[in-house]
């Protein structure tokens, strides 16, 4: 009887995950808890970190069937793996975004390219550190400060690095109010930070309706590798701007966006198991991501300063850093830093122009990278 009891207990114990549990799982469970804490207590990207943190905890409990083949989290990840979720996120983003500031001031769109030097510095850095060229491209795209684009490029070029890259991209996007201001102040004089800019013109409805159609045509024609993302962004924006399908527009911006966010965050978090995440390459990727954000911020500000050499009506170089993308966080950072110098200097609308252009800048860089690296 006693032997049988021990036998049954042993059999039951084998069914649990206790035997496979190691200290790495405990570390990652702590990481998941830290993410949830940051989301609740510090309001750091709560819509992303709650789902990622929770799935990270579950993924590190060895007995969980959710992440195994056939489990719900496994199917959530298929949405990422099959590149379904990132374009749907862009549909929602398009339905929520007013591209008026970008249309109103076309000169400033160049900042959307200027602020992406960080991508290439991280790419070369990753190559120097021994990553393959595809892995380096995926790591570099962290500097595009665009979560769905980083996922899209990574799944195509280096899917095994998805957890590290997506976590680095979203974490630094949340930390931009801390990362960007010191770099912006270091590269600008007080006089430059005090520059006030004119309010841009009003953009008509016809222009706003034409914009997504024109962008969809341009991107599908010239950048087919990233066309799924920008096309869905354009569709979402068209639904918003036409003004006759309010129900669809609201669904894309709210219902679809919320459902996809839950599935996407769970999918990302479920890949953060200790076996794949606790490696030296994770630390390298996190470091390179930070370098990419800092260099991107600096190059955006410097591009604005170079533009000022040729412009009669000077622009405030602080809006240059908004070209890094990460809508609207980077634009908000530009506006806040400007207001710390002059409380009556409202730069948010002007900063939104390069900020929105940054989305296209990241798409262009990612598209070219995919076109040249995917063939391998």
């Amino acid at each position: 009887m006693h032997d049988q009891f021990i036998l049954f207990l042993g059999a039951l114990l084998k069914q649990t995950g206790l035997q496979e549990l190691w200290w790495g799982n405990l570390v990652m469970i702590a990481v998941g808890c830290a993410m949830i804490y940051l989301a609740i207590a510090k309001h750091f990207e709560p819509y992303l970190l709650i789902g990622i943190g929770f799935a990270c905890i579950v993924a590190n409990v060895p007995g969980s069937d959710l992440i195994r083949q056939g489990g719900l989290f496994h199917y959530a990840y298929q949405g990422v793996n099959l590149l379904i979720l990132p374009p749907l996120i862009f549909l929602g983003v398009g339905a929520m975004t007013d591209f008026g500031p970008m249309i109103a001031n076309p000169r400033l769109v160049i900042l959307g390219a200027g602020a992406h030097l960080g991508i290439f510095v991280a790419l070369v850095g990753a190559k120097l550190w021994g990553f393959s060229i595809q892995e380096s491209g995926a790591i570099g795209i962290i500097g595009g400060a665009d979560g769905p684009m980083a996922i899209f490029v990574t799944v195509t070029l280096a899917p095994h690095l998805l957890p590290q890259i997506s976590v680095a991209a979203y974490s630094y996007m949340a930390l931009m109010p801390l990362i960007q201001p010191p770099v912006m102040r270091l590269l600008t004089t007080k006089q430059e930070r005090l520059i006030r800019m004119e309010q841009p013109r009003q953009v008509g409805k016809l222009e706003k309706v034409a914009f997504p159609i024109v962008m969809a045509v341009i991107v599908n024609l010239f950048l087919p590798p990233v066309a799924p993302l920008i096309t869905m962004l354009a569709l979402g924006n068209l639904l918003k701007e036409v003004g006759v399908v309010e129900r669809l527009s609201k669904t894309a911006a709210n219902g679809v966006m919320n459902v996809v966010t839950i599935v996407l965050t769970v999918a990302i978090g479920s890949t953060m198991s200790a076996d794949t995440f606790l490696t030296v390459s994770t630390l390298q990727i996190v470091f390179l991501g930070l370098v990419a954000f800092v260099v991107g911020t600096a190059s955006g500000v410097l591009t604005a300063k170079i533009m000022n050499i040729f412009l009669t009506k000077k622009i405030n170089p602080l809006i240059g850093s908004a070209g890094i993308a990460s809508v609207p966080i980077a634009a908000r950072v530009s506006a806040v830093v400007a207001q710390q110098e002059d409380k009556r200097n409202y730069l948010i609308y002007q900063a939104m122009g390069p900020n929105l252009a940054g989305v296209f800048g990241t798409a262009i860089s990612g598209g070219i990278m995919l076109a040249l690296l995917r063939a391998g």
């Binding site: 190559k127 060229i133 380096s136 491209g137 800048g361 990278m369």
Partner: protein
């Protein structure tokens, strides 16, 4: 593969990509610069948007 898996390949890719990013986004800027004319089309009586 089009780009060799070397440091030179990474440098070449970076240079080409960064340069082409400026070209493509500059072209988008040019297209957007023509957008005020659309506003004018919508309101035939409106003043020249460029001179405004």
């Amino acid at each position: 593969m089009l780009v060799p898996d070397t440091l030179q390949g990474a440098l070449a890719l970076s240079l080409i990509d960064f340069f082409l990013s400026f070209v493509v986004i500059g072209a988008i800027g040019l297209v957007l610069a023509a957008f005020p004319w659309l506003g004018r089309l919508a309101k035939p009586g409106a003043k020249d948007p460029i001179k405004n």
